[in-house]
């Protein structure tokens, strides 16, 4: 599978989840069981740089979601 297809698969998988908007990196590893975690994290980081995904941080833990998704983020944005 090529990189573009991998990215598409990530977007589709995240969109299909209706109950969650933020995911641990480990959830992305599960999408690609044959890939090494290091490769998956590089792919995720590339998608963050592209503006498709975004990091969410509590300070101690980092989670990843589709850019703009999630109630809290929208609430924060609307106050800007």
């Amino acid at each position: 599978m090529g990189i573009e297809e991998d990215k598409k698969l990530i977007i589709e998988t995240l969109k299909a989840k209706t109950t969650k908007t933020k995911f641990y990196l480990r959830d992305f590893n599960k999408i690609f069981p044959e890939k090494k975690p290091r490769e998956v994290s590089k792919l995720v980081n590339e998608m963050v740089t592209d503006g498709i995904l975004e990091y969410w941080s509590s300070g101690s833990t980092t989670m990843i979601g589709l850019k703009g998704a999630g109630v809290q983020h929208e609430a924060e944005d609307s106050k800007e």
Partner: protein, 435 residues
């Protein structure tokens, strides 16, 4: 001046210790009459105090949990803080924290500190935390539009990078090392810098199940307490013998030199008693004193450092120095705090630190693959077992890794480790062992 009264916060100023409330009030007052071209609201410290007072009154916090604040290309270094009462406290509605990677051992020029303070006064709240427990310079409170501006100024004008936050390698930290300390068994600053530079990607872009901390102590005195605070503790040690200057020992005994380099001199402890204060306190009883000569059975020394600390002019660390490497401290969720476990008894610590880097990468690959969400390395080691961890590190079990090797030498053997495996010639066995 705060807009409202803050009686509960004021109470915190009454104790005999310095109060963070007084500090914030001081900054609030300074911001009132400053000539600095402030880029975030002047009243930020006032609103912060009022917000805190409200939290005390309501008995609940008014910060939202986490956020998406950050600078382009980095996943760590900025911790989003948003207030859930933005109308009441508009000046503190977003109050993000920045972690700035500290220079090794916290060496600063006053010129640098002035520039840093000037930047934070102008583009932030003026409130800092020097230093956070990871070691970083913590800049407390700024708005979202200021983040990129601050990052640009930090990197271009101050030549200073952000540190780690979230699920990343946190800013590596080290003791003062060879810069000022004769006990340092390796150059902690050199090691800290080398690892920081090598793992920039891991520091800035979250790729781990949870946080990972590396701390470098130059000797077993552990001035950065790496054994308690780091997932990977690198602690200086030596392989040969403690160097003894018998004449200097006599000088301590005769009262010519002050023990502990003159520390604890606030009261009269009486004449120095080498037996009571040094040899009898040796935890492994490996020291002897016959009234003329001090002897050390170095094979039994467990590097407690007490004798060297007490008589630094007479006793010195060995010459063949390096570090012990321990893993897995601090796992507060599962079992409470734990110290790290000795894994590599001795490693030479010399540039380019290839052996150290190879070890780090083996551990990270395993942890990334096997670690659960929010599981620290120490918890994974407990869950999977220490023999598995040794397998990952490609090292063999060693009595030095076991707390009480003589009373608890519990090792599960694998078939591959036993000559001939589990299969054996039963007739041959029965010749030597009856049924």
């Amino acid at each position: 001046m705060t807009k409202r009264k803050t009686p509960m916060l004021d109470e915190l100023e009454n104790g005999k210790w310095p109060s963070f409330v007084s500090d914030i009030k001081q900054e609030a007052k300074a911001r009132e009459k400053t000539n600095v071209d402030l880029q975030i609201p002047k009243e930020v410290c006032d609103d912060l105090l009022d917000l805190l007072e409200l939290s005390f009154t309501d008995r609940e916090g008014h910060w939202k949990h986490g956020g998406v604040a950050g600078v382009f290309g980095y996943g760590g270094g900025v911790i989003g803080r948003y207030c859930d009462q933005p109308e009441q406290f508009p000046a503190a509605k977003d109050f993000h924290t920045l972690r700035v990677n500290q220079p090794s051992s916290y060496f600063y020029k006053t010129e640098y500190l002035r520039k840093l303070c000037e930047l934070w006064e102008r583009r932030g709240s003026g409130l800092t935390n020097m230093h956070g427990s990871t070691g970083d310079i913590i800049l407390l409170g700024t708005t979202t539009p200021q983040l990129e501006e601050i990052f640009w100024e930090l990197t271009h004008n101050l030549k200073q990078d952000l540190g780690g936050s979230g699920s990343v390698l946190r800013s590596p930290n080290c003791c003062i090392g060879k810069a000022r300390c004769e006990f340092a068994c390796y150059d902690t600053q050199q090691a800290c810098r080398a690892i920081t530079m090598e793992y920039q990607d891991e520091l800035h872009r979250p790729a781990f199940p949870y946080k990972f901390k590396i701390k470098f102590d130059g000797c077993p005195n552990g001035c950065v307490a790496s054994i308690a605070r780091a997932d990977m503790s690198v602690i200086g040690t030596w392989r040969d013998d403690i160097r003894i200057d018998q004449e200097a020992v006599q000088a301590y005994v005769g009262g010519e030199f002050k023990p502990d380099a003159g520390a604890f001199a606030g009261r009269d402890w009486g004449p120095f008693d080498i037996e009571k204060e040094v040899t009898d306190l040796c935890p492994t009883h490996c020291m002897t004193w016959n009234g003329k000569k001090l002897g050390i059975n170095n094979r039994e020394c467990n590097r407690c450092m007490h004798c060297i600390n007490t008589m630094p002019r007479a006793l010195r660390i060995g010459k063949d120095t390096g570090a012990s490497i321990l893993f897995g401290a601090k796992a507060p969720i599962l079992e409470g705090a734990q110290l790290s476990t000795l894994t590599i008894p001795f490693m030479k610590m010399e540039e380019p630190f290839d052996e150290l880097k190879a070890l780090i990468e083996k551990v990270w690959d395993w942890w990334s693959e096997e670690g659960r969400n929010r599981e620290r390395l120490g918890e994974l080691m407990q869950r999977m077992g220490f023999p598995k961890f040794l397998e990952v590190c490609e090292v063999k079990p060693d009595p030095r890794m076991i707390k009480e090797p003589r009373s608890n030498p519990y090792i599960f053997w694998k078939e591959a480790d036993v000559p001939g495996g589990w299969e054996r010639e039963i007739k041959e066995f029965r010749k030597r062992h009856q049924k």
